[in-house]
């Protein structure tokens, strides 16, 4: 699946997108955040406070307990500050 990062999540991870194949045990958005946080210092820093991270699956907001099966694109970003 394709992952995208925005704003300070993007800056901390050090890239704006990538393709990953998480193990089958990673079932929810929350699981994915936990798995990503274990991928090194940059990821650990980006995902150090999971409750402030917002996620979207295929361009729609989702909650942390949403299942990720079938997702094409998952994005992670901080709370929005547009308008």
């Amino acid at each position: 699946m394709k992952l995208k990062y925005f704003a300070w999540v993007r800056e901390r991870v050090g890239k704006s997108e990538e393709t990953v194949e998480p193990p089958a045990s990673v079932r929810t958005v929350d699981d994915l955040i936990g798995w990503l946080a274990g991928r090194g210092e940059a990821y650990a820093h980006a995902f150090e406070t999971p409750r402030v991270i917002r996620a979207a699956i295929d361009h729609a907001h989702v909650k942390p307990d949403t299942m990720i099966a079938g997702a094409r694109e998952i994005a992670f970003f901080p709370p929005m500050t547009g308008g």
Binding site: A7, A56, A75, M80, G83
Partner: protein, 155 residues
């Protein structure tokens, strides 16, 4: 009742009068147009802001604004609606966002404009980065923006 919906995300500035005219031209069923403009402030508290840079998630921003537009259309008897959101670097005094709502009567237009802005601020994937004398930093989301959006889900 037909309604014209315009959604644009762009770097360029917009002309409010021109956008209102595009919304109402040739129509005789519009009795009210409400316009909201969000403008870049030159200060935040005691801090002087040199500029804002807006980042966005293009595909989702379009989809998210379209979803809110649809909700507004189903909730109020609107005859037209425009949302324009700028991205890129914006300096104090410049426009950031425009919401126009048109209806036969003012109440629907006022309420729909406020609803759209509250939802955009809390849910549309845009992020502001602030330039000041101390360098640059991401603007933090405000709790009251979430609260403002949530009040529309009551009742």
């Amino acid at each position: 009742m037909t309604a014209a919906v315009t959604i644009r995300i762009q770097e360029a500035d917009f002309d409010i009068a021109q956008e209102i005219s595009a919304l109402t031209k040739g129509r005789t069923d519009i009795g009210a147009v409400v316009s909201f403009s969000g403008i870049c402030r030159g200060s935040e508290g005691s801090e002087t802001i040199a500029a804002l840079t807006l980042e966005h998630y293009p595909e989702m921003a379009e989809a998210e604004i379209a979803r809110h537009a649809e909700t507004a259309m189903s909730r109020w008897p609107l005859t037209g609606l425009s949302v324009i959101h700028r991205v890129g670097r914006i300096v104090p005094g410049e426009n950031i966002v425009l919401v126009l709502t048109a209806s036969q009567h003012r109440q629907a237009a006022f309420q729909a404009a406020e609803f759209l802005m509250d939802y955009l601020k809390a849910n549309a994937p845009f992020w502001k980065r602030e330039e000041s004398a101390d360098g640059t930093s991401w603007v933090e989301a405000r709790y009251h923006d979430d609260a403002a959006a949530a009040r529309w889900t009551k009742s």
